[in-house]
């Protein structure tokens, strides 16, 4: 098992390198032409100072049959509206599954950054700074905040921050983190996972059947392309 710290370190490096995006999954269609989306005016990245959350966690012997998170939530309603709005931009409702905002992905973020554990406490200022920055950046376009800005302005800002286009590096990093967390929170909901073609496994009574014929055909084609003999 690798530590979360190592995992994050590797992934930031891989993500920054663009190696995988360019080489591994080039077949993924992109609706976003690496747009070079960029901002004309840029709000500075706000650094927030927060009092630490010191309440109890769930302890070393929680009732796993009745899971509960005992810590109080800390996000304001306006925060949650913003997170759900962003969630629906990243993972919108479509003919496959619900939107992340519709699933109230903000509830997941609220539980996460309100938790009294070190990893989550480290994420908390990042999220709050990101929200402050998005609102401040939206005000430069005449809106009162991100949520009330026009759809066109919202899209432009999201494209710019995804592309690191004339935005503070911290904003690009925080939004990258936010996108990963949105995917994690969204697909840990069983309905969304099933809609993505990965229904939680149903018990198989009897011998494990192994890969389906379709899965084996895909494997064998891959082995052929790699000029590898199948394992006997």
């Amino acid at each position: 098992m690798i530590s979360r710290r190592d995992s994050l370190r590797w992934m930031m490096a891989a993500s920054a390198s663009g190696l995988l995006a360019d080489a591994a999954f080039a077949q993924v269609p992109a609706n976003l032409e690496p747009s070079g989306a960029s901002l004309a005016q840029v709000s500075p990245w706000p650094v927030v100072t927060l009092a630490p959350i010191t309440g109890p966690g769930y302890g070393t012997d929680p009732d796993t049959m009745n899971p509960t998170a005992p810590w109080p939530l800390t996000l304001a309603p306006a925060h949650r509206r913003l997170i759900n709005t962003l969630g629906d931009w990243l993972l919108p409702a479509d003919d496959v599954s619900r939107g992340a905002g519709e699933c109230d992905i903000a509830a997941f973020f609220d539980e996460w950054i309100s938790a009294p554990y070190p990893d989550q406490q480290k994420d908390r200022p990042q999220l709050l700074s990101l929200m402050l920055w998005l609102d401040a950046q939206s005000r430069l376009s005449g809106a009162t905040d991100f949520v009330s800005s026009s759809r066109i302005d919202q899209q432009h800002l999201i494209e710019a921050v995804l592309a690191y286009g004339n935005v503070p590096k911290a904003a690009g990093d925080a939004f990258g983190w936010f996108r990963v967390m949105t995917i994690f929170g969204y697909y840990s909901m069983p309905d969304n996972l099933a809609a993505a073609g990965m229904a939680p496994e149903n018990p198989i009574i009897g011998d494990y059947p192994g890969p389906s014929d379709e899965a084996m055909a895909h494997l064998n084609a891959l082995l052929t392309s790699l000029q590898l003999e199948p394992y006997a």
């Binding site: 919108p92 198989i204 890969p211």
Partner: protein, 570 residues
């Protein structure tokens, strides 16, 4: 000081994990009356394991926290790398991690359940390469006990046919599960490089095992064994050996009993143990004809060191000075890659029995013996990677900068594309790795704690470097992209103790000057005191050690039963 009168007890067993539970099973069936003391609380997987609880239901989607390092649902109670009120210390600048749990069944409630047998070379390492020490027993001595333990606990797997990887006799193993796509892919690449890949022997049932006291069902291929198993498919003592021993009517279990020291009636005879009730703080002394310590390797060494007497001032049964010495763990490293060719592959139930259906065993014995390698002992790779909910993994961080439905499509496309190889290797004991009592620190019960010393040698770093090159060669053959940095072996190697295979701190041997117990696990100075955990291991092969702990505990327990019945300990 209060004393508890526990009438009619023959043997006290400290610990309820692999060694302790096997001891209780064998002894009670032989008519011996046993008292088991477990430091943690009572635990019943049938009532407490949430097999189908979703990540969405769990706080923080079930990820690990300091309270539950291996995740919310993990079958570890009041434990982890730190136990509240029960510290341990380390030498300045050194790093050793000590995983403990405080629950009935101990660490068998959460473990990899990978159960390879040690082979003939593993018992005679010194004779082969001049490093470490030989065991006072050989493979042929232990083989019949491997056979019986595999039958008793239920092991699935197939034939191996490999050097120093003994096969089981026919009809013992359960049917192995079919390999899955990631394993077949790795196996094909390994084969092209002349590296074997074989079915794993795993302590998970693939057929039912009826029993009046502990009926167990075959695995249904759907849930995480790390949570524990309420159908008993994944072996843990709480659903098998312990209820079977209790059914004899000859096992009494006391939980929340933190043993503090062994009590002697004279310098060569154990009279019982003292324990602290974790709930009340009350101290009790219980007495018996023999004492078995199976508290886990380092806890057992701690008990011996804390049981010193005027005549044995360096710790009980420590005339050799070897108690706490020779601390070993398995080496570990993790190499991960994304395989683009797996993108968009068809989904099927890839859960299987949860653990790796295949693995890469050590294969370079001849090169090693010919002096062609710069490290003396081998390693194996455990294969990982399968379909699962997109988490915070490599393939998600590395997605193109998409949003919207295209992002959802990209997530679906990359599912099941990340594979990893986990290296598990053997280290030879060295003088820099040991545990001693920290004279300045006690736990919340007033019991002195352990201080660890840990230093890898160049041999371990060379082994890790070899494994890194091998893993990268395998992934390269698959067109994979290793996305983690090209780390030095010194950076890549896991901390001492992190693989949770600590052993050797009260090793067995043929000479009381250099070992703590004889081949029957009897401490040389106190023959009615036996050690039934990893503490007695004379070496720590890369092959996971729990099966061997149980086989040796069975062998020693049968010897003890005979001794008790013939009045040998009178």
């Amino acid at each position: 000081m209060a004393q508890t009168a526990v009438a009619d007890i023959d043997v006290i067993i400290v610990g309820s994990g692999a060694g302790g539970a096997m001891s209780a099973y064998v002894l009670t069936r032989a008519g011996i009356r046993c008292l088991m003391l477990e430091a943690g609380r009572d635990y019943d997987p049938g009532q407490e394991v949430n097999m189908f609880g979703t990540d969405q239901d769990a706080p923080l989607r079930g990820v690990g926290t300091p309270d539950k390092p291996f995740g919310y649902y993990d079958a570890t109670i009041d434990g982890g790398w730190e136990v509240p009120g029960e510290p341990y210390t380390q030498a300045t600048g050194q790093d050793f991690k000590w995983w403990r749990s405080r629950m009935l069944g101990g660490r068998t409630n959460h473990w990899a359940r990978h159960v390879p047998r040690f082979g003939p070379y593993d018992f005679k390492g010194f004779s082969r390469d001049g490093q470490g020490v030989d065991w006072p027993i050989d493979y042929d001595t232990v083989a019949p006990f491997y056979d019986r333990v595999e039958q008793l606990i239920g092991v699935c797997g197939g034939p191996l046919g490999l050097e120093n990887h003994p096969d089981s006799p026919p009809e013992i193993l359960h049917q192995p599960p079919k390999p899955r796509v990631p394993e077949l892919l790795i196996a094909a690449a390994a084969k092209s490089l002349g590296i074997p890949c074989v079915g794993t022997h795993t302590a998970v049932l693939t057929r039912d095992m009826p029993d009046d006291a502990a009926p167990r069902s075959a695995c249904y291929n759907a849930t995480d064994c790390g949570r524990g198993c309420n159908i008993g498919a994944a072996f843990q003592t709480t659903t098998s050996l312990l209820p079977m021993a209790k059914a004899t009517g000859r096992l009494k279990v006391v939980t929340d009993a933190m043993v503090s020291r062994v009590v002697l009636s004279n310098e060569r005879k154990a009279d019982g143990v003292e324990y602290v009730d974790r709930k009340t703080g009350q101290r009790h002394i219980v007495r018996a004809r023999a004492v078995i310590l199976a508290a886990s390797a380092c806890e057992t060494a701690r008990l011996l060191l804390n049981s010193k007497t005027a005549a044995q001032p360096n710790g009980l049964a420590n005339g050799s000075g070897q108690v706490g010495r020779n601390l070993t763990d398995t080496t570990g490293a993790h190499i991960e890659a994304v395989i683009p060719g797996l993108a968009g592959r068809p989904y099927y139930n890839e859960f299987g029995i949860n653990f790796a259906h295949m693995y890469i065993p050590w294969w370079l014995y001849k090169a090693q013996q010919a002096g062609q390698l710069d490290f003396p002992r081998g390693y194996h790779f455990e294969i990982g990677g399968r379909f699962g909910a997109p988490g915070m993994g490599q393939e998600i961080w590395s997605l193109p900068r998409l949003y919207g439905s295209d992002l959802k499509r990209a997530v679906r496309n990359v599912k099941g594309t990340t594979l990893h190889l986990s290296l598990r290797g053997e280290m030879v004991r060295n003088d820099g790795c040991y545990a001693e009592i920290d004279p300045a620190v006690t736990d919340r019960f007033g019991i002195p704690v352990l201080k660890f010393h840990w230093q890898w040698t160049q041999a371990e770093y060379n082994q890790i470097a070899h494994g890194q090159r091998t893993a990268r060669a395998i992934f390269s053959r698959l067109g994979g992209i290793v996305t983690q940095p090209d780390e030095s072996p010194e950076a890549a190697i896991k901390a001492g103790g992190e693989i949770i295979h600590e052993a050797g701190v009260a090793r067995m041997g043929a000479d009381p000057r250099t070992s703590v117990t004889d081949q029957w696990h009897r401490t040389w100075e106190v023959p009615n005191l036996r050690l039934h955990d990893g503490s007695v291991f004379a070496s720590n092969p890369h092959k996971n050690l729990t099966l061997t702990i149980m086989a040796l505990a069975m062998r020693s327990s049968e010897h003890l039963a005979a001794e008790l019945k013939t009045g040998g300990l009178a």
